[in-house]
Amino acid sequence: MASTISHKLKNRLYRPLAILFWLAVWQAAAIAVGHEFLLASPLQVLQSLGQLLLKGTTYQAALKSTGRIMLGFFASLVFSLLLAAGAHKSTLLRELAAPLVSAARSVPVASFVILAIILVSTRWLSTLIAFVIGFPVIYLNLLEGIKNRDIKLRQMATVFRVPFLRRLFYINLPQIVPYLRAGAATALGLCFKSGIAAEVIGIPSGTIGEALYRVKVNYYTAELFAWTIIIVVLSLLASALMKWMLDTGLRRLERL
């Protein structure tokens, strides 16, 4: 018992100590480099973050970029759901989708971004990129989930003539949601990374990408780190929201 408590205490202590260690390394590196524009120190980053958080434009940019990326993510979620449901039933559709999925997984984001800049307005660039990047991850996870459903429960539903909707909500979805949850969590992280990267290339006005581009041109590394912290926080919040939505939905399916 005592050894378990001491083990837990150690684990709790190690994590903040590790963070403090790397912050110290960062501070030492910043002092060694000696130029804020090359490598800002943690304190300078904190200062820059404080300044950003006091500006209304920061929130506008965060809202705009997050909204567009989330739109692309949810579009990929819906599209993947429909395609996976269809592909599970139809080999032809599955085979038809396979090259699309391979292309979406292997073509570099930059190529998609440049193609998207040519084809669509830069305004919807991050939405389109989030869609393209998110779709194969969610789709493949969903296909796996559908494939791995318990055949014995399916047989039970067949013998008892369980109607389609009850079968969907109480037998199929509870088995598929864990796969969807895992795929969507991975996809959402990728959507944020690639969506912001697309904005840096396309520079749509009033977005995080535009702010990062300005930082790059002016060598404001402190602001670069500050924006990075904001992006990570936004991505974590979006991920938590998505998981909460799925878990709430799943809990509802546990009542009949």
Partner: protein, 192 residues
């Protein structure tokens, strides 16, 4: 309509293993039949053939519908309550009837709890309740009393007997006393 369930020269293989070889049997309608035989003699396969869950490699099977079943495994939805597992089959609006049946099987207060929290014996009784509340002409029971003690077995058999009166019941078991509990006509399967 034929007066029998009918297996006519059925052969069924799973990979290299032959489970049934040129097997023929007639089971009477509107009474309880019990299939007994050594392990691997194809008892569960016969039930699966009647349910259409597997198809014979050769020969034919004549069955009746609608059907209900107690499978060898429980096949419950663990996240749902006992009542929820029954509502999955019946839909809403029959709660009083469902709770009454659960109570008869010794699951009263616990009917609203998730079945994942139930003991093996309680889960088995929910499985039996599920089979009995479904609409059926043919009830297939694959070792229905698995995990039940002698008293619960007898009480459960009484509920099954009452609920399935006039219907065709086919049971698979290793235990002759279980066949006796349902007043079943026993059919011995040969080992292959």
């Amino acid at each position: 309509m034929s007066k029998h369930l009918h297996f006519h020269h059925v052969t069924k293989r799973f990979g290299a293993q032959t489970v049934l070889l040129d097997f023929s049997l007639e089971l009477p309608l509107s009474c309880v039949s019990c299939l007994m035989g050594p392990s691997g003699s194809g008892k569960t396969t016969l039930l699966n053939l009647l349910m259409g869950l597997v198809q014979p490699d050769s020969g034919s099977v004549q069955t009746i519908h609608p059907q209900s079943a107690v499978f060898q495994e429980d096949r419950l939805l663990p996240q749902l309550s006992a009542l929820g597992n029954l509502r999955l089959i019946t839909g809403g609006g029959k709660d009083a009837e469902l709770l009454h049946l659960l109570a008869e099987l010794g699951i009263g207060e616990e009917g609203h709890k998730p079945v994942r929290d139930f003991s093996g014996g309680m889960q088995r009784r929910v499985v039996i309740a599920r089979a009995l509340i479904a609409e059926y002409e043919l009830l297939l029971l694959d070792e229905p009393f698995k995990g039940l003690d002698a008293d619960t077995r007898a009480r459960t058999a009484e509920v099954i007997r009452r609920a399935s009166q006039g219907k065709t019941v086919v049971m698979v078991t290793h235990d002759p006393t279980e066949a006796a509990l349902l007043n079943a006509q026993v059919f011995w399967l040969p080992a292959i």
